[in-house]
Amino acid sequence: MNLVIDISEETEKTTVNLSGEIDAYTAPKLKEALLPLTKQNGLIVEINLEDVNYMDSTGLGIFISALKSAKENNSQMKLVNLQDRVFRLFKITGLDAIMDINAAIRGGSE
């Protein structure tokens, strides 16, 4: 019932590896970590959700504000390796159409 946030900076992008659960308890911590990254002009922020086994609308809210911040600051936000259950929430809410999401987990289908 926690969220581990691991940020690794590479030359062309910054990868945020998330592991655990995203809910109203862990969301503030995620927002705090994510928003400063999206404020960096031109930065590609890739968020790896492979090890996120639970997420609800508070997570969607965080990614919406990160996307807004990215658009304002000319950076990019990508979501990668979403588990089926997590991706489903983006599909139900229609957010998959406005976000850059690559849902396919290694060996899985898109």
């Binding site: 019932m1 659960e21 809910d23 109203a24 308890y25 639970y54 609800d56 609308s57 508070t58 969607l60 809210g61 919406i64 259950r85 489903r88 929430l89 599909k91 139900i92 809410t93």
Partner: protein, 158 residues
């Protein structure tokens, strides 16, 4: 009268207890024989309701409680989430509830984002009452024939 088991929980209106309730519903739904997918739906729905309750509850008192009731029926699970901290009178609450679309409190709840929308999408029936605090009553049926989200397959969980 239809027979059912009733389980009641009270947790402090704090975000750190949402995960605890999620584990509880997972256990109850698992015991009833819900599928993995349905259990995941229930976990999201109850978390959304409690997140609403936690955000709405602390206005009146600094340390509010959220009351959660589980009605375990032969063919369905009824979940109630109330932010007023009092005990449930099941019949009274059900009598006072109408479809959420006609309830003015919806706009207020929606400001939390997609919470109520997801509850509605993931549960079979959702009702909201806001006479004494906000009470969300949601139902999920067992053994329902459902169309998978990807709509290229039909899965019967029966």
């Amino acid at each position: 009268m239809e027979k059912f088991d009733f389980i009641e929980m009270k947790v402090p209106a704090k975000a750190e207890y949402i995960g605890v309730v999620r584990l509880s519903i997972s256990g109850i739904a698992n015991r009833m024989g819900f599928s993995y997918e349905d259990i995941e739906d229930l976990k999201v729905a109850i978390s959304e309701a409690i997140t609403n309750a936690v955000t709405h509850a602390y206005h009146e008192t600094d340390e509010g409680e959220v009351t959660i009731g589980f009605g375990v029926y032969g063919n369905r699970l009824e979940v109630m989430v109330a932010d007023h901290g009092g005990s449930f009178n099941l019949k009274e609450i059900k009598d006072g509830i109408g479809p959420y679309k006609n309830n003015e409190s919806v706009e207020d709840l929606r400001e939390g984002g997609f919470g109520l929308f997801l509850i509605n999408a993931l549960m079979d029936k959702v009702q909201i009452n806001n006479n004494f605090g906000v009470i969300v009553l949601m139902t999920k049926y067992l053994n329902e024939t459902e169309v998978g989200f990807d709509d290229d397959q039909i899965s019967t969980t029966q």
